[in-house]
Amino acid sequence: MTFASRALTALLFAASISTATAQPAVKPAAPAVPETQQPPLSSAAERVYEFSKPRILQVRTLLQAAGRQSSLGSGFVVTADGLAITNYHVVSQYALDPKTYRLEYLAPDGTKGILELLAIDVAHDLAVVKVDHPDLPFFQFDPRALSGTLPKGERIYAMGNPLDLGFTIIEGTYNGLVDKSYDEHIHFSGAINPGMSGGPVAGNDFRIVGVNVAKRLDGEQVGFLVPARFAAELIERARKGPALSVDKAREEVGRQLDSWQAAFYETLKGQGFRSGSFGPYRGLESSAPWVTCWGATNADQIPKPRTAINTTRCSSATGIFVSDKILTGRVDLSYSYYKAIDLNAFQFAKELSQRTWNWEGSAAKRLTEQECRDDFVMAGTGSRPALRATWCMRAYREFEGLYNVTLLALTQDRSREALLAQLSMQGVSYANAVALGRRFLEAIEWAQ
């Protein structure tokens, strides 16, 4: 496997429906000017890098046996006793498979050493590692970042080792928290590249604002940072709580995923649901501001379609990196209203059969094979359309009690028009999946 494909920057929001979701990366017309006499910008970056140089690290995951690097990221020291912050996804191979991998750091001055994994926070993609080198200088957290009072437009500097090209400093702007997002992420207008994951982002005063974590593939200079607050909290936890035993890291990941999904589905429920209208049918939609929906139609298709299809896709756009093969924690809801234009009932049924293809299901290292159950269902009481429903699920091999679930429902009340509804949930407990699944089925009704 080549280095380039393994160097890590989580690409969390990789494929969204439309590029229009990208918020324009607006740079302030004038650079942020603090009150004191301000040196030219380039020299500010110079000073920040000079300060940061002994405090930043390259975090390397090596194959235990061959000693070759398997993936690379960055990190930075935040305490006198050598505790450093990086991303969970930088150390995930080691955390999930400590027998195969080991962790090492490389400092800008060329020193190398072993890293010890002390704590992980899968939900915020953070990890605390300990450098086997006493008396290292360290960073401090920016209190304004911790309290969330940093002004939009402030010039901040992202550091790390992109693509193993050498330690680098990148100027960018702080653009506040990302709108419409369940996970708290700072929107950083600057280039973040694979290999910089876990690296620090500091202001002019050398204090930590956030941690490099991801970028948008469909935008330019749209980067994301984990707010410093979560890093500070994790450091506290690593200091006070029981030390993480590496052999139990996998169980810890499972526990964190489970509590993440419990909180997520609770919040989703708390945000409330509403009934969306799709042709003559209604279906469940979330009122949460971070569930965004996009519509699509085939009306302008050439040659003229024989079935009119209007689709609405909604997604929580959440994503938790667990391993390079598992990105979880996402909920998608989609509704397609089909109306035959000149197809008969059989042809229309065929059209619907062709539209429900889905390749997912193969057994993999981290997920079991898929099991499905079908039935004709009348969910709920009152006068409502009958449904043809299919429930498919896969279990996470390493994380007991977590599943990927797909629920399909097709209305069966008319032969030449139908609503095809699909709910998919990743990394969900069975109880939460059934609860949302039931709500989803019961919400499919006739519009008055």
């Binding site: 040659p303 024989r306 093969k325 598992i326 990105l327 197809l343 009932a345 059989f346 042809q347 049924a349 065929k350 619907l352 059969s353 062709q354 429900t356 293809w357 889905n358 390749w359 997912e360 299901g361 193969s362 057994a363 993999a364 290292k365 997920l367 079991t368 094979e369 898929q370 099991e371 499905c372 159950r373 079908d374 039935d375 004709f376 269902v377 009348m378 969910a379 009958a386 043809r388 429903a389 299919t390 429930w391 498919c392 699920m393 896969r394 279990a395 996470y396 007991e400 599943y403 797909t406 399909l408 097709l410 069966q412 009340d413 032969s415 990743q426 069975y430 059934v434 699944g437 089925l441």
Partner: protein
């Protein structure tokens, strides 16, 4: 007394090559030209065999002192004397002979179906088959239906049917002497209609009962239809060697069905089931009552049980796709 016997020299395929009427009480068989029946077989003695009548008047074959001896047609034991009543076949050297007494009974007359009747049936069923095919094709067209789209698959189908029928006609020509193309075509067309009916029934019932496995394993039923078709083809060729041929066909078909079953269950183990609604039919095809949400989620609990069990097993290895995870 005027008793008559017939001595037939058989071909390897079981047809009589020559048939000689003997009006004497005795006959000799061998390579020499002073015999009543002359056989061109280097493994036959110049005077190999004498056929005479025993005390009860039945025919008896007798070895005249030869190197290679005298056997029943299918037997393995060399004998000196063979009574031929009821069992007319004997083997000397590599030659098979049959000796019949004129009093031997023969099978009754079989009613003949004239080839033209088979041809008419074949044509009639063929038209039905093509009409059904076009209709099915038309019912599953979701794009703009064009003549090409509807008729092109027919061409392929007709070609396969023609090759299949010709194969059996050729076998029939070799073993039965007549191709009987019309009869073989009639059988092939009937089998096709049965296959189509089976496939449609399996898919429709799979929808009607919301029973996924039915469509998944419908292929096994198709093998049974194929077996029946092969049996009918062989039967038309003739009853000789029927058991051996049928055994061979059955073995092949069972092997095919078993392989298909194994492939299916293997891919089920490797790839699991697909998140699809399956092959849908119009809502009126539903034959089961509507389940309540409670019933449905009771069913999904069994899926949970199954994937929980799968968690404890080693991941299935092998296969190109097994290493890929398409979950995102």
């Amino acid at each position: 007394m005027g008793a008559v016997m017939w001595i037939e020299v058989m071909s390897r395929h079981g047809d009589a090559v020559s048939r000689q009427r003997i009006e004497a009480e005795e006959a000799t068989i061998g390579r020499a030209f002073d015999n009543d029946v002359v056989v061109d077989d280097p493994h036959v003695a110049p005077h190999h065999l004498r056929i005479s009548r025993g005390e009860d008047g039945e025919l008896v074959a007798e070895d005249l002192g030869t190197l290679n001896g005298l056997y029943r047609e299918q037997g393995r034991d060399r004998t000196q004397r063979l009574p031929l009543a009821g069992e007319p076949g004997i083997r000397i050297g590599r030659t098979i002979l049959r000796v019949h007494d004129a009093r031997h009974p023969v099978a009754g007359e079989r009613l003949m179906t004239p080839p033209v009747a088979h041809a008419r049936w074949a044509a009639g069923l063929g038209v039905v088959l093509l009409a059904v095919l076009v209709a099915l094709e038309w019912l599953s067209v979701t794009a703009e239906p064009t003549a090409n789209l509807l008729l092109l698959p027919l061409l392929g189908f007709i070609t396969v049917l023609a090759v299949w029928t010709s194969f059996w006609a050729m076998l029939s020509r070799i073993f039965f002497g007549q191709a009987r193309f019309a009869l073989q075509l009639r059988i092939a067309v009937t089998a096709c209609i049965a296959l189509l009916a089976w496939e449609q029934a399996a898919e429709s019932l799979s929808f009607s009962f919301a029973w996924r496995d039915m469509a998944e394993y419908a292929g096994l039923g198709a093998w049974a239809v194929l077996a029946a078709a092969c049996w009918a083809h062989l039967h038309a060729i003739g009853p000789r060697h029927m058991r051996a041929a049928m055994g061979l066909v059955a073995a092949l078909l069972i092997a095919g069905a078993a392989l298909q079953y194994l492939g299916k269950s293997e891919s089920r183990r490797l790839f699991g089931q697909r998140a699809t609604l399956g092959d849908l039919r119009p809502p009126a095809f539903r034959l089961v009552p509507l389940a309540s949400a409670d019933d449905f989620f009771q069913k999904t609990a069994s899926a949970k049980k199954q994937v929980d069990l799968a968690r404890t097993r080693e991941p299935a290895g092998g296969g190109i796709l097994s290493d890929m995870d398409l979950s995102d």
